[in-house]
């Protein structure tokens, strides 16, 4: 369920940006391939980022399931509202609330690292995107329009695969890390992994297009070069965070990159209202997940 809602919500971040250069079906196929490759090859890097690194692995089972339930619930509600929401925001907030309710040890230093990355990452990605855009514009200005379009398409295809790869490694890897709570049998873990990817894929295929429209049309109007810069910056930043096992919000990274590229040259078209809603929403989601998980955990623990 978690993976399904994740797929529903997040495919728009990659497929939405390609919708002008290649058709949506091909964009979706590329996203699926990238997510699978990232999950299969590098998903293990997130295996203990929440349980073990953020909160102690001694977290009671009831608290774990409460946190997972709250994460899925928050992700589902916001997806139904057609908002590109972060799985990391929901999950970190929920596990924090569950840990507080059950008096489990929390690694506040790592928590500060996570919060710090969430705040800093959009700006870092915006700056990276700006630099990449300036470099790309300099290279392409003496080329023919046909070569510019062709080059942008090829690079964008590779970049979207790369971003999807990091999405699979970071976010799906995070979801998969919870499977090891139930079992350590390798075969069952593999089956869990296949089921997780399958569920995410179904979510992307069935419902991802509406999110793609929000990202591609409602938030930022970007040219091909700016899209390229935004996505490449997102891929670089997400990779760095994945290497350090930091649960990254790809939503925040991509939107930061898009904003950086979007304002790199005047005139720029940005829906500031939608951006404002998103930024406030991210903060509120984390607080709401924490509060809901805390409350539910207390109720369940007192009931049992």
């Amino acid at each position: 369920m978690f993976a399904f809602v994740f797929g529903w919500n997040n495919s728009g971040l990659t497929a939405g940006n390609l919708s002008n250069l290649i058709n949506y079906k091909l964009a979706l196929s590329l996203t699926l391939a990238g997510v699978f490759a990232g999950f299969a090859i590098a998903g293990r890097s997130m295996s203990s980022s929440i349980l073990g690194k953020l909160v102690s692995s001694a977290l009671p089972m009831t608290a774990i399931f409460t946190a997972l339930f709250v994460s899925v619930l928050m992700l589902l509600i916001l997806t139904l509202l057609r908002l590109p929401v972060s799985l990391s925001n929901c999950t970190v907030g929920a596990f924090l609330g569950a840990a507080l309710a059950s008096n489990t040890q929390i690694n506040f230093i790592f928590l500060l690292e996570i919060f710090g990355s969430w705040i800093a990452v959009p700006f870092v990605c915006a700056l990276t995107s700006f630099i990449i855009y300036v470099a790309v514009a300099r290279v392409e200005k003496s080329r023919s329009l046909v070569k510019v379009v062709r080059g942008n398409r090829i690079v964008l295809l590779l970049v979207v695969f790369f971003v999807s790869f990091t999405l699979g490694a970071n976010n799906l890897g995070l979801i998969d890390s919870f499977a090891s709570i139930a079992t350590t049998v390798p075969l069952i873990l593999v089956i869990f992994g296949i089921a997780i990817f399958g569920a995410a894929a179904v979510g992307m295929v069935l419902f991802g297009k509406m999110i793609a429209q929000v990202v591609g049309d409602k938030i930022v109007g970007l040219s091909q070069m700016k899209t390229l810069a935004a996505m490449l910056a997102s891929a670089i930043v997400t990779t760095v965070l994945t290497v350090f096992s930091v649960p990254v919000s790809l939503t925040q990274v991509v939107i930061g990159g898009m904003l950086g590229a979007g304002i790199s040259r005047r005139p720029s078209v940005t829906n500031t209202r939608e951006i404002g809603i998103l930024f406030v929403g991210w903060a509120l989601v984390t607080v709401a997940s924490t509060g809901l998980a805390f409350f539910l955990s207390l109720v369940i623990m007192r009931t049992i």
């Binding site: 080329r143 023919s144 329009l145 379009v149 062709r150 398409r153």
Partner: protein, 224 residues
């Protein structure tokens, strides 16, 4: 999707579209060249030849219209050029209009204008005027081909299109001014009809100049 189609998608789709756009404009310009020939026959009172040229123009215009529809369909259903696809559709419409206006101008054949009125019209160099309008369209064709080279060349040609179109306008106003003097006391209907002929022929240059404006938009968006 076959391997060939895959690599075609990655690489040559846009170039093929541009080549077809160039061919479409070339065919449109052909209708204008036949309009010039029609004007020549009109000057020599060869009304049979005028009618034949009109029939040729009508056929060419229909071919241009069909190719235009085909290109529009391909652009609308494919994924070419990303965010500048809509501007390309506008350019195609303007190119189609060039052949359409040539056909409308050629309708001068429907009314056999008296020879003295024809002589009065051709006292000014109407053929040079139509030729100038065709030159504007030919410059637009160079501009479209320059999209496959670099943006500086496109910008340079767009400036030349504008200058040539202004020259065509100046020539048109001079001819119309002389026509309205009506020193031979011709029927008002004949004078107005010939004036319409000149205005419609000038639309070849106007549509070409509008097409060059679209080229500027393509450059602005494509390199932004």
């Amino acid at each position: 999707m076959s391997i060939r189609n895959f690599f075609s998608f990655l690489g040559n789709g846009e170039q093929q579209i541009l080549d077809r756009v160039s061919k479409l404009l070339d065919n449109s310009i052909d209708t204008s060249r036949h309009l010039l020939a029609l004007a020549g026959y009109l000057k020599n009172y060869d009304y049979d030849a005028v009618n034949r040229e009109y029939a040729t123009i009508a056929d060419l215009e229909e071919q241009v219209a069909q190719e235009h529809r085909s290109l529009v369909r391909e652009l609308c259903t494919g994924s070419f050029f990303g965010g500048i696809r809509e501007d390309l559709l506008t350019l195609l419409e303007l190119i189609s209009n060039i052949s359409d206006t040539s056909k409308r101008a050629a309708r001068v054949h429907e009314r056999q204008v008296p020879k003295d009125v024809v002589d009065y019209l051709f006292k000014d160099d109407v053929e040079l005027f139509i030729s100038t309008c065709i030159s504007v369209a030919e410059l637009l064709l160079q501009g479209i081909e320059a999209l496959g080279k670099n943006k500086e060349e496109v910008l340079s040609i767009a400036e030349k299109v504008e200058a040539m179109e202004t020259k065509a306008d100046t020539m048109k106003y001079a001819i119309i001014q002389h026509l309205f003097k009506n020193e031979i006391n011709a029927k008002s209907l004949d004078i107005v009809m010939l004036k319409d002929f000149l205005e419609t022929a000038d639309d070849v240059a106007d549509n070409s100049e509008n097409g060059s404006d679209v080229l500027l938009i393509l450059v602005a968006k494509g390199y932004s």
